[in-house]
Symmetry: C2
Subunit: 555 residues, 2 copies
């Protein structure tokens, strides 16, 4: 059997556009001689459709579109695709997450998803009823072990426990499946390629069955799908692999083995992920003429700008430098150098007039107080206002430049530098931002991001001689603590034990993370590249009073 792995990039809710892609890709697969072409999970709606799944009219339209696809594709090829299907029983959630096999305009088989991820960014129990069982699909004399995304994940990767009592992979093997076929919408985080390698290899080896894995590609708001579609042989070897972060159609003939390129370094994949995230946000919303980046002369805005240029081209990125009286000369010079290296339009708008106006307007009411955070934030918010004025006037997408380290501890001004439609680096720790900067320059073979930007001490430049390290520990230390707390779910005593850092320092950082939930709640959506990003996958109460130190003796 010849199988096409159709790794396509859908737009959520775009039934017309997604169908069109499916039909075109099915034709191409047919031309390449495929018997079966496999599309990702929920590809008809795009993933994640979220509460669109609660709109009965949308669901009617989905049902209609599935049949239209069945009629429009070549009639002598099997089309396996993911879509929500209505639950006709009078009990349970109203939908199933289904894989549908179309052939000759007819639904030849339907497989329902059994394991419904409801953790981190996933909310599948919100919409779907879990299938009671899984069953191989018998088609053209073959037994296909068709299953959906999470259905393949209930193995020892979840150690020390199993999240679900069922394991569809084992059941399908016991039923005599000859090929595992998994359709997925499985978002990227750094390292996921290797995680999938291990997981799929184990399933193949345990059952001596080859594995076809087809995953969605592209970005939908904060979730970045790398694709990473592939085939493993029955002995677990990776024998065919689609491009990452690009649409692709792999054709695999049973019994053959292709060569697979050595995987790229993770920083390179993170880079591609972020570029894809910007590009797809921009193009899928279709709402913007260009992207706009406020350039401070610092590393975060420089890297954001570099990624934006790679995503959209230099002619669709505008830079703005907005010096204040506290800005170093480097702030402007480095921004000019960056803009020149990329050939960008750069506006310069000094913020002094508005800041002075605000100071004047607030003289009476601020009388008798000392300058502090309020005054610093006026500067950041004046810049935020200017950026939004440009965004509104010229239909620019404002890109937010703050990194994960800052967002964690609230070292950012709400309604100031946090302004924007998309937060490019909000899941990228500061030390990773440096790595990205070096990667950008190395890939280009020249200094696009000025060396001085990379080497200067990080500063918000909101008061004279301010440095980040006045308020925060050095970034390698901060990132280490944050990564243990946020991504590895370690708490105070464990972090102290692992790192040897001072307990007051660790406690202070953890407290800062907890207390800044209110800022993050109002942050723009951010591109997710880690196992635990801020945003939809992390739900922490704003109003809470968890006093960990009162229970420190328990550990």
């Amino acid at each position: 059997m010849k199988i096409g792995l159709a790794q396509i990039n859908p737009i959520v809710g775009d039934l017309e556009g997604n169908s069109k892609k499916i039909i075109q890709c099915a034709s191409k697969a047919k031309e390449a001689g495929a018997d079966l072409v496999v599309f990702p999970e929920l590809i008809v709606t795009g993933y994640p459709p979220q509460d669109l799944l609660e709109n009965p009219f949308f669901l009617e339209a989905v049902d209609h579109v599935i049949d239209e696809i069945g009629k429009a594709v070549p009639q002598d090829i099997g089309i396996l695709l993911g879509a929500p299907l209505q639950n006709k029983e009078t009990v349970g959630k109203r939908l199933y997450n289904a894989a549908i096999l179309l052939e000759g305009g007819v639904r030849k088989a339907v497989v329902l998803k059994q394991l419904l991820p409801t953790f981190d960014v996933f909310d599948e129990n919100r919409y779907f009823e879990s299938a009671q069982e899984c069953k191989v699909v018998e088609w053209r004399g073959r037994k296909l072990g068709v299953h959906i995304c999470e259905d393949m994940w209930n193995n020892e990767e979840q150690a020390p426990y199993y999240l679900y009592k069922d394991n569809p992979i084992d059941v399908l093997a016991a039923q005599g499946a000859e090929i595992f076929i998994n359709i997925s919408a499985s978002p990227y985080y750094a390292g996921k390629h290797e995680v999938r390698n291990r997981l799929i290899k184990e399933s193949c080896q345990e059952h001596s069955i080859p594995f076809v894995y087809v995953n969605q590609v592209g970005a939908n708001t904060e979730l970045l799908f790398d694709g990473d579609s592939r085939v493993h042989s029955a002995d677990g070897k990776l024998i065919a692999l689609a491009k990452s972060f690009e649409e692709d159609l792999l054709i695999w003939e049973e019994g053959t083995e292709g060569t697979v390129q050595t995987p790229k370094a993770e920083i390179s994949i993170v880079h591609d992920a972020l570029v894809c995230g910007i590009k797809d946000y921009f193009e899928k919303t279709g709402a913007f003429s260009k992207a706009l980046v406020g350039l401070s002369g610092g590393i975060d805005s420089a890297v954001t700008c570099a990624l934006a240029v790679e995503a959209l081209g230099a002619d669709r990125v505008i830079g703005v430098t907005m010096p204040s009286k506290y800005s170093s000369s480097g702030s402007v010079d480095d921004s000019v150098a960056l803009a020149e290296a990329y050939g960008l339009t750069l506006h310069k708008i000094p913020i002094v007039p508005a800041v002075s106006a605000f100071e004047g307007m607030l003289t009476d009411v601020f009388e008798g107080t000392q300058p502090g955070i309020a005054e610093e934030n006026i500067q950041a918010r004046t810049r935020g206002l200017l950026l939004m004025a440009l965004s509104n006037k010229f239909n620019y997408l404002l890109l937010t430049t703050g990194n994960k380290s800052e967002m964690s501890v609230g070292y950012a001004t709400l309604y100031g530098d946090m302004n924007g439609g998309l937060a490019v680096l909000s899941d990228v720790f500061k030390m990773q931002v440096y790595e990205l900067a070096e990667y950008v320059n190395e890939s280009a073979g020249r200094e696009l991001i000025p060396r001085s930007t990379i080497e200067k001490a990080p500063s918000a430049e909101l008061r004279p001689d301010q440095k980040d390290e006045d308020s925060l520990p050095p970034y390698p230390v901060l990132d280490h603590i944050l990564s243990l707390y946020i991504e590895s779910q370690k708490d105070l005593d464990q972090i102290i034990a692992v790192t040897g850092y001072d307990s007051e320092l660790v406690e202070d950082i953890l407290r800062k993370v907890d207390r800044n939930e209110y800022k993050r709640r109002q942050a723009p959506p951010g591109l997710r590249i880690s196992r635990k990003a801020f945003g939809v996958g992390r739900r922490v109460p704003i109003v809470m009073r968890w006093n960990r130190s009162a229970y420190a003796s328990l550990i």
Copy 2:
């Protein structure tokens, strides 16, 4: 048996504070002669604890605190309370949502929740494993039908289908339960008292069993818990009822009947809900000195201000009026009248200097463009910046004043009038805001909110002679469409059919709702008073392209 219904107001994560309340309330119940005192669902952690439940150290502390409570309460009274319990099996989610019966320092019985709501604002499948069965608790020779919140909701209220296959209420009755005891954390929406009346009455009548219902009270971020704890007799009659939106301890002796007051009008409960929401946000965060409201002279800011005064007292509310060159004289006069009526401090800060400064700074880059939204937003954002400057300087909680009608269609400026820590009216449609204004004045027996504020045509006053109705249909029409779309999940053709409104108008409004998801994603948390509020309970993709008109013929 004498039962205490302990309707208390916890703070999420505050294990020390919540335990203290539980212990005090248990002592009071004991003094009143109760045999058993019943606390709400997850009362040890407060509801909803969200991802605090993923912190293993927090869970250790919870387990410890349950035992500490058991030791500290009177030893000869039964304490039934809700808490998360760790799942010790190697399969499934790591927690159960449990009711624990403590007596003499010992866990005498544990009941696990079977039906886990995972819809709207609820994410229980994210954290909890569903119990396989329910079982009556045998205690002091009695059979208690103990169950948890959603366990009582799987009846015909869910028509035309059942959400779950199990119905714990029926099973408990079949096991010989003598009293149903439900512990809940069931948030308020307008009309919920009556919904509970019907539901509980039906369960009593079906099984001839009396019903004790104990619900959490108070606000946690956006969720408002009314309490509404009560007892129904075996024939379904409501025979005891706790105060709404206040802590209460009801003592009920089996076989007796108390008198229950006639329920208040819904607008009065909505009012109390919003006042509770402001008060609890302010006090539970403990982060603010006073609340701050930008007063425009319009109805939304006046009502927000009125509610804030009721929640916090006039000495803890500050008003600011920020006229522009487009402001009518009424904007300031009406704000002054409101502040005088309440005895508030009112600052006046005209925005002209900053707006002029911005216009000057943007002259070059805006050259050749026509004034429009960008210039209007500069005014709104200048006000937003001033309010945040006051908030930062004096530690004020900035209250956001936008209503649900505006938030639905995006008639609000992101980083401008949307600024704030808490959105008081974001779930209150404009026509309900008028009702609240009338209610406030009627309750006071005098004109607190100026008549001219109530009667003027709504306007953002961002350009000369601007009126909301220039951009939007009249509010009764707009609210009608929005309520059908957002709260009743009707789509285009159904709304046209129900209302008879022009199809282009309806389509335009629906499109506006869909396209403004990006603004709402960055909105402050808002107090929920409807079945479907923006925020945690409504999850709609920002990047999407659902083109309903392409499928209009399907209906």
